[in-house]
Amino acid sequence: MKPWVGQALAPYVLISPFMVLFLVFGLFPIGFSFFLMFHMWDPVQGLGTMKFVGLDNLLFALEEPLVWTSLGNTLWLALAAGLPQHLVAIPLAFLINERLGRWRNAAMGAYFLPYITSTVAIAMMFSSMLSTDYGIINAALDGLARWPLLQGLLPSEHIDWMGSPETIKPVIAFVVFWRYLGFNVILYVAAMQSIPRELYEAARMDGARHWQQFFFITLPQLKPMMFFGVTLTVIGGLQLFEEPFILTGGKGGAEYAAMTTAMYMYRTAFEFNDFGLASAISWLLFVVIMVLTLATNWLFKSKQG
């Protein structure tokens, strides 16, 4: 039977489903967003009402205090949630890999569970736990405060975890840390398993202790995976949306303390109907992400060099 497409055309036909999906859902939105950045557009007025405004949206975004507030929040949260993820995940992965034996997979599964759990369920759980008057955290603090030694150290009133601008940021950073820790643990355990065992055997024969094996064999060998993991954390952290959005009811919390740039961009588009400004914010965010990703790349490359 003669094939219905020629040999020359076949690769293009086979790759076309991906290309079509990529063009429609990948490339077109990026291009459209770039186009929108130079236009004033209220979506409810329809596509025909776009007005070219040149760089007005970008300039407005750069002068908008909330854009800078949200960017500051985003960087704070990315650092506060991202850095501990790796600082904890690496030794934890080492412990799981070296010590847990047949329980290794079960431990990895347990740490990975938050990553695959619905954000809404996570947000509901933390909202209940952190409730000012009815939450288990404040109830536990109440209990601890009854101990004579801790009485002076703990607050006498309930902490308004979700309502206070001073506490909402650390709360969200903790939730993000808790959620993505397992993902990084998996990455590092996988990387550790690919480190040749001979290196450890040789080190042990030379009398290296566990901490020496960790610092002088495991850590240097993990650098490529650390680069990969940190890059993902930087990009994910700067695009943070779900956790703060759900935990603050989509408003960004008191004094906008938990409003990330991605959240502000979404709200500008869908709540304030200003798609042009929202596109300008998204491109500004893209520039920040690109610069920080390149900086991460440079940092790891220079260390490796």
């Binding site: 209220d42 979506p43 409810v44 329809g46 596509l47 009815y134 304030f272 109907n273 798609f275 400004l277």
Partner: protein, 414 residues
């Protein structure tokens, strides 16, 4: 041969029947979707060939989906439910039919509808963009048991803001309960009262911010600050888990909102408190509205005539409006539905009070306010500045100036 002819005839008839069937799409949010569904059996008696597809989404998701649909002119329903908070943005967009014009001529039924709600539907400046179906006359719900214990009378709660705050002090001292869930609630009422005709809450008739010039904002901010300073609010936001718990456990004595809150309290917020609540007028006996639902027909709707017929059934049919109130607590915008026997019945949840009569009295006294495209943005900015006043001690004057400046800056982009 005969069998073949018969089969072909049956096929022709069924094809024609299928061709004549029309599917009308209605997009709504809870519980408007249920109200529409419950009205369909009656409406379909006159439209047997029409299938009605009701697309129900969560409140915010629904309005986001409608924004996208209007933006791309695709996926638009024939009938679109719009909540009052989104009316400004949608009505001024120009993507909705003017229901005052032919063939709709909704103006002919104007006398049948609550005046302020109809005026809100018209306030986009493009005729009647949306037809009101339910309204939310503002009411004060208070815990009778707690007030009795604190020896606070209803007259003290409704007399003036001073006596209202005084009641809160007595309440806290006697029972430990707090007066309101959030100090912002006080500001929300005060800024909605005494709005001159033709103006909106945040903008004058020219679309200029009145935040730093209208006295109601200063008064609202000052009162909210006083309530917070005296420790009379629970600092919880409405619709949060904490809010629900505080209502359930009697830790908040008063909640001011639309009259529809009574239904929510009874059905899911605090069903354990049946008989303990009462409804009263707002402080200073202010009359204001809280939310409301409208139906609109998008310009690109496929079946406008049928859509209008369904909207008429939902908004101008007395039986339907009464049923929506009785089953779903949707306070009718149709005046004749406000005279039904249901209004005279005592409300068991409110201790047998005939509260619906007072809500009706309040509804007729509400003045219409204009809606503007940037209302949501202005509300957001004002609330953020109030937060700074309440938590950081920012001066009210400075907060209002900053809010005005920020709102003007954004409004000037439109």
């Amino acid at each position: 041969m005969n069998r073949v002819c018969l089969f072909l005839l049956a096929l022709l008839v069924s094809t024609q029947a299928l061709a004549q069937r029309v599917t009308l799409t209605v997009a709504a949010y809870p519980a408007v979707d249920d109200i529409v569904k419950s009205a369909l059996a009656e409406w379909k008696k006159n439209h047997p060939n029409v299938d009605v597809k009701v697309i129900g989404r969560e409140y915010a998701d629904h309005h986001t989906a409608m924004t996208t649909a209007l933006a791309t002119s695709s996926g638009l329903p024939d009938v679109m439910a719009i909540e009052y908070g989104y009316l400004g943005r949608f009505a001024l967009g120009g993507g909705l039919q003017d229901l005052d014009r032919a063939p709709y001529l909704a103006g002919q039924s104007a006398a049948k509808l609550t005046p302020f709600a109809l005026a809100q539907g018209r306030s986009g400046g493009a005729g009647l963009s949306a037809m009101p179906t339910d309204i939310g006359p503002g009411a004060m719900f208070y815990r009778q048991d707690l007030m009795s214990k604190a020896q606070v009378t209803e007259a003290e709660l409704t007399g003036s803001w001073d006596s209202f705050i005084g009641s809160g002090q007595k309440l806290k001292k006697s029972t430990g309960a707090l007066l309101v869930a959030h100090a912002r609630d006080i500001k929300d009422i005060v800024i909605r009262s005494g709005i001159p005709a033709g103006q909106g809450i945040y903008f004058d008739d020219q679309g200029k911010s009145v935040i730093d010039s209208a006295e109601r904002f200063r008064k609202g901010f000052e009162l909210a600050r006083r309530v917070r300073a005296e420790g009379l609010d629970a600092k919880v936001n409405a619709w949060s888990n904490e809010w629900g718990e505080s209502l359930k456990r009697g830790q908040v004595g008063v909640q001011m909102m639309g009259a529809w809150l009574g239904g929510h309290l009874q059905n899911w917020l605090a069903p354990n408190t049946s008989g303990l609540w009462r409804s009263a007028a707002l402080p200073e006996r202010v009359n204001t509205s809280w939310g409301g639902t409208f139906y609109a027909i998008p310009n690109k709707a496929q079946h406008k005539e049928l859509a209008w017929d369904l909207i008429r059934h939902l908004t101008l049919n007395r039986k339907q409006q009464e049923q929506a109130f009785e089953k779903f607590n949707a306070f009718p915008a149709l005046l004749e539905a406000q005279n039904g026997a249901f209004f005279d019945q005592p409300v068991a949840f409110l201790g047998g009070q005939k509260a619906r009569i007072s809500w009706r009295q309040s509804a007729v006294q509400i003045s219409p306010t204009r809606v503007f495209k940037n209302d949501a943005l202005a509300e957001e900015i004002v609330n953020a500045e109030l937060d700074l006043v309440l938590t950081k001690g920012k001066s009210v004057d400075q907060a209002l100036k900053d809010a005005h400046k920020a709102v003007q800056r954004r409004a000037s982009r439109s």
